[in-house]
């Protein structure tokens, strides 16, 4: 059996990659996908801990995260569509109507 810390390091690495994506990409869709990446890496952590502690709760939590992620994806993408209709762009630097 692979030691749990390995999974944790892996999941941290994937989380960081997702975070970099969120922070640096300007395409809203890709930012969105990066967020999914981060969510997934967290799921991996949860499962790993679930196994490590021998309790099922972590995996149940993953189930809920997935549900929320699905909901979030649906709503988020709808927002992107609405935004695109209005501004003809998904460039996040141009979507700054909340400034000041």
């Amino acid at each position: 059996m692979v030691p749990i810390p390995y999974y944790l390091v892996l999941s941290a690495a994937m989380f960081m990659i997702g975070a970099v994506g969120v922070l640096t990409r300007r395409n809203a869709i890709i930012v969105f996908m990066s967020i999914e990446l981060m969510l997934n890496s967290v799921n991996l952590t949860l499962v790993a801990f679930s196994v490590a502690t021998g309790t099922i709760t972590g995996q149940v939590l993953v189930f809920f995260v997935m549900t929320v992620a699905a909901a979030e994806a649906a709503v988020g993408l709808a927002i992107i569509i609405a935004l695109y209709r209005r501004k003809q762009t998904v460039n996040l630097d141009e979507i700054n109507i909340l400034k000041w």
Partner: protein
């Protein structure tokens, strides 16, 4: 003691009259009823006072003083000893009852006179309301058994003076005059107030009885007594129109003439004199202040008389004459001749009320003309007024055996002979006497003698109605015989007034260690000199205004500058205006309000708001609206927090 226990009625009758007329008068404007009620209540007061007087006289000398307490007024009510507790209570002694008699007696005559004088005026009921209120306040002033109630009366008469000077409020100048009177009086009251505080601080009490008895065992000449006496005297200068606060009285002539007679001649303005007399035991502890009082009195006497020489308004002449006479009274107080001063208050009340009422009759007869240059030869139109006016003029000039002679002469003699007096004070006083005789004669001559300088087409002089002439005659009688109550002791007859008042002033005089002087020769000499001086004043006026009518103009031309200064009353009003009034106003407006308030304080307030707004403008740039930069801050936060957890 039936009368004494009813004595507060003296005060309550005028109050009842005030309330009755004040509350109902505006609706039932029946002049007859209002007049009778208004005068009637004063007469009731007078009658009660006479009753009290007789009862007092029947008692032994040391039992004549009594007080009546009505109800608690101002105090802390905390039950702590030494804290303030003042009640409404009245004190009846020789001095206060004498003043009460003057106030109610002369007051009654003037009320009666007013029935005729104010006939047909729209504010008839208002006039009597105010007059009754005035008598009420004045009696409180006179009869109070403590300083605070006296102050109530003190301010109350000031208010009535304000109301009555501004009686004809539709004219512009009456408002000015009324306001000036009230405010100048308030300056004096400020002194009175501080004096009271200092008394409370020193004696832990404000009732006359305990203050005076505490004072009797205090040492003379301490600074605190100096200040108490001086501050109270400041109050007196305001109310009694002495230098430097005399400026309101001439203007106060804007009120109806009976008011000038009652308030600004006979009663209210003598309140200051009365107050000094009342506080004689305190003044006895401050001989320095007595000297100041004497000097101010003497200076005012001459100063006002010189202005009186050239005035052309009949009431203004009398007003300056009043100021001058009040100066004599203070001179008397200053040389500790308290009973002489009070005696002069009394005689002055008679003849000055007479003169004012006489001038009122003239003004009435001349259709509101007050300029004596536009009168002349009125003798034949107004015989009764003329006769009584002359009596008053002779009385004030100091020709024996008229009232003024006795009182004025006693003052002058004391000014000369008292240990506190000096020949200089006598000389100044005598100079004032000459001037008085001169300007009164001038007034009589210009008004009643010589050519008729008025316009016959428009003015038809006529004698006043009975309600006005009867008081004139009565006052003329009093001006003639009133002085006989105070015949100098040296004449061998009893000086009734002095004997009556002596118990009141004895402690003070004792404190000052004053002895009676029995140098009859010197007294007779001075008496003769002053009579001669008065006669020469009258003679000079006779020569200049009857025989050589061109002389006054020549003198005026020769001493043009002096004449102008006198005519403009030494420019005192203008000086006050330039030195006090305008700078205060400008500083308040330009510096305090528009400077401190608007620019500095509000500037600071609005400035703070502006700084915050600018800061917010800057800081809000952080909100770029780009979600990623927010995310970056979140990450930075996480990094920082974890680092903190790990390494700190």
């Amino acid at each position: 003691m039936p009368m004494i226990s009813n004595a507060p009625l003296i005060v309550l009758f005028p109050l009842a009259g005030f309330l009755l007329i004040g509350l109902l008068g505006w609706k039932y404007r029946n002049e007859l009823v209002i007049g009778i009620v208004g005068s009637g209540v004063i007469f009731l007061s007078f009658a009660t006072a006479v009753g009290v007087l007789f009862e007092m006289a029947s008692l032994p000398e040391e039992a004549r003083r009594s007080t009546v307490q009505l109800f608690p007024w101002i105090g802390t009510f905390t039950g702590t000893s030494g804290s303030l507790g003042v009640s409404v209570g009245y004190q009846f002694d020789q001095l206060s009852i004498l003043m009460t008699l003057i106030v109610t007696g002369v007051g009654f005559l003037i009320h009666v006179y007013s029935i005729g004088y104010m006939h047909g005026d729209k504010g008839y009921w208002r006039f009597f309301t105010y007059l009754n209120l005035f008598i009420f306040a004045m009696l409180n002033l006179v009869l109070a058994d403590n300083f605070v109630l006296m102050f109530f009366g003190w301010e109350g008469v000031g208010l009535c003076s304000y109301l009555l000077i501004g009686f004809w409020y539709e004219k512009t100048f009456t408002g000015d005059a009324a306001k000036k009177a009230f405010i100048v009086n308030r300056i004096g009251d400020f002194g009175f107030l501080l004096g009271m505080f200092l008394i409370m601080r020193t004696f832990d009490s404000l009732s006359f009885t305990s203050v005076m008895s505490s004072a009797s065992v205090m040492p003379t000449g301490t600074p605190v007594m100096f200040w108490i006496a001086l501050l109270l005297f400041v109050g007196a200068t305001g109310k009694s129109a002495q230098i430097p606060l005399f400026v309101w009285l001439p203007d106060a002539m804007a009120g109806p003439t009976p008011v000038s007679a009652l308030i600004h001649a006979a009663t209210m303005v003598t309140a200051g004199v009365y107050m000094v007399a009342r506080c004689a035991p305190l003044y006895a502890l401050a001989p320095d202040v007595l000297m100041i009082v004497a000097i101010v009195g003497a200076a005012t006497a001459v100063f006002a008389a010189t202005i009186g020489l050239v005035q052309n308004d009949i009431k203004k002449v009398l007003a300056y004459s009043t100021i001058s006479q009040l100066g004599y009274m203070f001179l008397a107080m200053g040389v500790a001749a308290f009973s002489a001063g009070i005696f002069h208050v009394m005689t002055h009340a008679f003849f000055k009320a007479l003169l004012f009422l006489g001038s009122g009759a003239v003004i009435h007869g001349m259709h509101d003309e007050q300029d004596i240059q536009k009168m002349g030869g009125l003798k034949k139109y107004l015989p009764v007024t003329y006769a009584t006016f002359v009596v008053g003029a002779i009385a004030i000039a100091g020709i024996p055996p008229f009232a003024g002679f006795f009182s004025k002469d006693e003052i002058l003699w004391n000014a000369f002979s008292s240990e506190l007096g000096s020949p200089v004070l006598w000389t100044v006083g005598a100079l004032g006497a000459v001037l008085t005789a001169f300007y009164m004669s001038r007034l009589v001559i210009l008004t009643f003698h010589g050519k008729e300088r008025f316009d016959h087409h428009h003015v038809h002089p006529h004698e006043a109605p009975k309600t006005m002439t009867v008081p004139l005659v009565v006052l003329a009688g009093l001006s003639f015989v009133g002085g006989w109550l105070g015949v100098p002791a040296s004449w061998g007859l009893g000086n009734v007034v002095e004997d009556w008042l002596n118990p009141v002033f004895e402690p003070a005089r004792h404190k000052l260690m004053l002895a009676e002087h029995e140098s009859h020769a010197a007294e007779f000499t001075l008496m003769t000199i002053s009579v001669v001086l008065a006669a020469s004043g009258i003679y000079a006026a006779w020569r200049w205004y009857v025989q050589h009518t061109d002389v006054p103009d020549r003198i005026a031309g020769k001493f043009a500058r002096t004449y102008r200064i006198l005519l403009n009353k030494y420019y005192v009003d203008e000086a006050y205006d330039a030195v006090v009034v305008r700078p205060t106003q400008t500083a308040s407006d330009k510096f305090l309000w528009k400077g401190v308030d608007v620019i500095i304080i509000d500037g600071a307030v609005n400035g703070t708001a502006k700084v915050i707004a600018i800061a917010a403008q800057t800081v809000r740039r952080v909100q770029t609206g780009v979600a990623q930069s927010y995310a970056m801050v979140i990450v930075a936060g996480i990094v920082a927090v974890i680092a903190a957890l790990l390494f700190i």
